[in-house]
Structure formats: C-alpha cells, structure tokens
C-alpha cells in the first residue's frame, strides 16, 4: 500500500485516471488493502471477500468519470461503493438488517480496517520462509505437518517459523502505531 503524500498528489492521480483509465492501476495499488480489509471485516469467507473486492474496484473503474473531488480521500469514495456492494449482497441474501451495522461512521471501524490493511501489507514484507508458512497456514489452511512435508522441514521448525513470523508482525505493527 502506497500512502499518497498529500491530497494534491491523490487529486492529480485521480484526474489522470479520469483522462486515462490505465492510470487507475495506481489508485488500485494505493487502496487495495484498505478496501479488502473493509470487506473482509464484514465477510468472513475469503473467496467471497475477494469476489466482492473485485466487484468494488470494477464498479469504481466504471464510475470513475463521475467522481468529483470534494476534499475527501479517494478511499472514502471506494468504501462508499463497498458499502453499497455489501448492502446489495445482503439484500440478495435477505439479510437487510445487517446493513445498518456496517456504516462507516461506526465507532472504531476505520481504525480496525486500517490496522488490518496494515497487517496484510506487512505480511508481504516478511522473510520468504516465514511468509510462506503464514500463507500456507492461514490462506491454504494447511496443518503444520503438511507444511513441514511440503517444505521438507521438521514440524518444530515450521512451528518456530510461524512463531517468529507472528512476532515480527506484532513488532512491526507496534512500531507503526506507537
């Protein structure tokens, strides 16, 4: 996730993307984790969260020409689309009552989403062996034994890598927010 330095940069980038849709890729890179974290916070299933995230960005690209700059961050516009997409989803599922709980103004939501987005980004920066263990353990839902067989290491070594990876993430998260 690339944090845009200032509003001016983001505004220029949005205007560039409105002229040239290919520039939307840069906006996507800057906001992917936050949008995905926002969706994943409300949808527990990873595959569904990925599908909804894809739908949100496609809608954003399609309606980018209608975006008007009012001084709010671009991610707010994206999360607005996400809210509508989620509402549509719950409506399709007949669970309208849950939509109300996902208002952006809900206390603490933004911070949680931001933290989770940061965590997802930090995973990419882990050492390769630690990252591989985290991916296999939490994304692929593999057991320690399966990972050990796959990587050709002992179960103890895999557990230790898992432990170190989480410790690394914890320390990096602390350094970001302290």
């Amino acid at each position: 996730m690339r944090i845009l330095e200032c509003e001016t940069d983001e505004r220029l980038l949005i205007e560039a993307a409105q002229r040239d849709p290919l520039r939307f890729a840069e906006l996507y890179e800057s906001n992917f984790e936050r949008v995905y974290a926002f969706v994943a916070y409300r949808v527990r299933d990873r595959e569904e969260a990925q599908d909804l995230t894809a739908e949100i960005f496609h809608q954003a690209l399609a309606s980018l020409q209608r975006f008007e700059w009012h001084g709010k961050p671009f991610v707010a516009w994206l999360l607005g689309i996400a809210t509508k997409v989620l509402a549509d989803r719950w409506e399709r599922l007949g669970k309208q009552q849950q939509v109300q709980a996902y208002e952006l103004e809900e206390a603490g939501i933004e911070a949680l989403v931001e933290q989770r987005a940061m965590l997802f980004q930090l995973v990419d920066g882990l050492p390769p062996d630690q990252r591989q263990v985290i991916i296999r353990r939490f994304v692929d839902q593999r057991s320690v034994r399966e990972i050990a067989q796959e990587l050709g290491r002992s179960e103890g070594a895999v557990k230790q890598l898992q432990f170190r990876a989480l410790q690394t993430l914890r320390s990096q998260m602390r350094s970001k927010y302290v």
């Binding site: 040239d20 849709p21 290919l22 520039r23 939307f24 890729a25 840069e26 996507y28 890179e29 992917f32 995905y36 974290a37 994943a40 916070y41 527990r44 990873r46 969260a49 990925q50 995230t53 894809a54 960005f57 496609h58 690209l61 399609a62 933290q115 989770r116 965590l119 997802f120 995973v123 990419d124 390769p128 990252r131 591989q132 985290i134 991916i135 353990r137 939490f138 994304v139 692929d140 839902q141 057991s143 320690v144 796959e150 103890g156 557990k159 230790q160 898992q162 432990f163 989480l166 410790q167 993430l169 914890r170 998260m173």
Partner: protein, 373 residues
C-alpha cells in the same frame, strides 16, 4: 514460560482458531494471546495472487473502455511503462513457474496429484516426440551401389550391344561345298543386312544390286586383310574361290547369312550378329576394371512412393578409356529403376581392365542395389 512451550501453545491456539473462528481461547500466555489476535486477523488474509490478478483484470477493463486513441500495442506499452511500474517481486513470483514445485500459482491451491499427473503426461509426450525419430519409418533413402564382377563364362566370346542374345556373335554359311571357304577381305559391316556376302556369286545380275554386308556394328574394329577378293578372314585356304562347307548363301562353314563358322549374320564362330573376340572377359590374364567414380543413382518417384527396393543387374563393356558402353539390363527391377540405374552407371568412370599391362575393353556385369532405409 519457555520459548518452546510458547511455540506449542501458539500452534495449538492457531489450530483451534482454524477449526472454529469464534472460539474463545483462554488460559494462555499474554504474548501468545497477542499473537493469536494477529493470527485471527490473518485468517482473512487475501490469497497472494489475488491482488495481481485483480489488477490485471482491471487493466483489461480499462483497455476495453479506454477512450485513448492509442492502439492496443501502445496501450500495452503504457501499462508497462507507468501503470505497471516495477515493484518488488514476491517470493513466489521470483520463482519460475512455482507450480513446478507443486506450489500454488493462482488463487486456487495446486493439487499435488494433478500436478504430478500433468508432469508425467508432459514427460511421456516429450519422450514420445524425442524417440519418434528412432522408430518412425525413415523417409530418406540411402542408395547402395555394389560393383559385382561376375566370373567370365567359358566362352571367350561376347555379344555386343546390337547382337543377338547369344554369348558371342558369329555367322556363316556356304554352298555345302567340299572346299573350305577361301580367304579374303571382310565385307562391309552394317547392322542391317540386305544381302549376304558370297565369294562365288550365284546371281550375277540381281534386279536390285545391294552391297553385301555382315551384321557387325560399324564401330567395332576388326583386323582385316588386304586381299582383293571377299572371303573368310581366318581361312587358311587361299583358293580356289569357295563359299565354304556350310549351309546357306554366305561364306563359311556355319549356317546363316554371315561369315565364318557360326550361326547368324555376324562374323566368326558365334551365334547371331557381331564379331567374336572383340571384347575381353575378366580372368585369364585380364584384370578386372575398378570403379573409381560412382555417382549415386536417383530413385524414381513411383518407386519411392511405393517404397520399392531391389537390385538391377546391368551388363556393360568397360572401354579402355574407363567409360561404360553397351549398357544392357540383365535383371530388370521396373518402376523406372532400370533407367535410373543405366543413367547412373553411364556416368561411372572405371580404371580399365588390363591385359599384358595395356588397357583393354572388358565385359562385366554390375549390380545396382536400390534400398530404402
């Protein structure tokens, strides 16, 4: 609590989280509890390739809806130049084809069995392709020529190109006289005989005068004498003039229209046209010729298509200049291969046979093998 114990406690907690996301884990170390909080968040970690795949899909959509006047090629260049600015590769991306190692490359995990099946199938296909060259029927032909010098026959005589199929040429007849044919010079030689030679002329006033000839190729050199009268070259009888003891209307002791003791229109004691003693056979002091230049014969198209193989036997005379003359098919193969064999052997060059150290013409048979490999 020791570090190994914390590691085990963390792993047990993660196992519980993976089994039941809503489980409340208590009685754990504070450090482990904090790490388990992160682990709970990581359960929603997106698939590593999802981000890049979604980006690629968005780029496709952007290209489709782009109002740019740039061509797709230009658009691709734009993507490469600015939208897809170089970024740090992930470990999976740094590997070339991670599925080669059974790792997932897309948003779906690679199944090891399918991966192994795919590798096996591709390996078998590759082996099949590589080894097909060994067991497939070859399409190129390799021609093998063998020069076979067949042992000479008992006869010392040889039929020439235009002679009959007998081994040697010869001819002769006579008036059934008691006297041997008288010696004299050789008549004119021609391949077509209209009148047979006579020493004693029976019809002195023919309605159509035709010069008497013997059936001998004009190019054959025959030692002649300078006697004024016609007669038998080899006769020891100088006179009186006689047509000889043979049967027919010519000169000699044989039968036919030629000259000498043979049968036919030629000269000598053979059968048919030609002249006995013009060409040598290998053996008896005559060395064998040796082919020194043998261009390959071509395969005729129909024989190649039919994958026809075999051997053509040619009879020929190797002249003192090393060239092949009088080529004649002794054993035919057909399908145009006879002609191809003659065409090729006609170009061959020989080291001529020698007799008493001098090059001499010699008759040989040559086998030309046509084989497809």
């Amino acid at each position: 609590m020791s570090s190994p114990a914390l590691i085990e406690q963390l792993d047990s907690g993660i196992d519980l989280l993976c089994t039941d996301p809503d489980v409340a884990i208590s009685h754990v170390d504070a450090t482990v509890a904090e790490l388990l909080g992160l682990a709970a968040e990581l359960r929603n970690l997106p698939h590593p390739d999802f981000r890049s795949q979604l980006k690629a899909n968005l780029i496709k959509s952007a290209l489709a809806t782009s109002s740019m006047s740039e061509s797709p090629v230009m658009a691709s260049a734009v993507i490469g130049a600015r939208s897809f600015a170089p970024r740090r590769l992930r470990p999976e991306e740094e590997q070339i084809l991670p599925t080669l190692l059974g790792q997932s490359s897309g948003i779906y995990a690679a199944r090891r069995f399918n991966f192994a099946l795919s590798v096996t199938a591709h390996a078998l296909a590759l082996i099949l392709i590589v080894t097909s060259g060994f067991w497939m029927e070859p399409h190129h032909e390799q021609r093998v020529q063998t020069l076979t010098l067949i042992e000479p026959p008992v006869s010392d005589y040889l039929a020439l190109d235009d002679a009959s199929k007998s081994a040697a040429g010869g001819g002769g007849s006579g008036d059934h006289d008691r006297l041997q044919a008288s010696r004299g010079h050789l008549p004119e030689r021609s391949l077509d005989q209209f009148a047979s030679p006579e020493v004693v002329i029976h019809n002195g006033d023919p309605k159509i005068p035709v010069e008497a000839t013997v059936v001998v190729p004009p190019q054959v050199s025959i030692p002649d004498n300078r006697l004024p009268n016609l007669g038998d070259l080899r006769s020891r009888v100088a006179g009186p003039p006689s047509n000889g003891t043979g049967y027919g209307s010519s000169i000699g002791s044989g039968a036919g229209s030629g000259l000498g003791g043979g049968f036919g229109g030629g000269v000598g004691i053979g059968i048919g046209g030609g002249y006995s003693g013009g060409v040598f056979r290998v053996g008896g002091g005559v060395s064998a010729p040796r082919a020194i230049y043998k261009p390959d014969p071509e395969y005729s198209p129909e024989a190649r298509q039919a994958k026809y193989q075999g051997t053509v036997v040619l009879s020929l005379i190797v002249a003192p200049d090393g060239r092949a003359h009088g080529l004649r098919v002794v054993r035919s193969l057909g399908m145009g291969l006879d002609e191809k064999a003659i065409e090729a052997v006609r170009e061959w060059r020989f080291e001529p046979a020698r007799k008493d150290g001098k090059p001499v013409a010699v008759a040989v048979d040559v086998e030309v093998n046509f084989r497809l490999f």
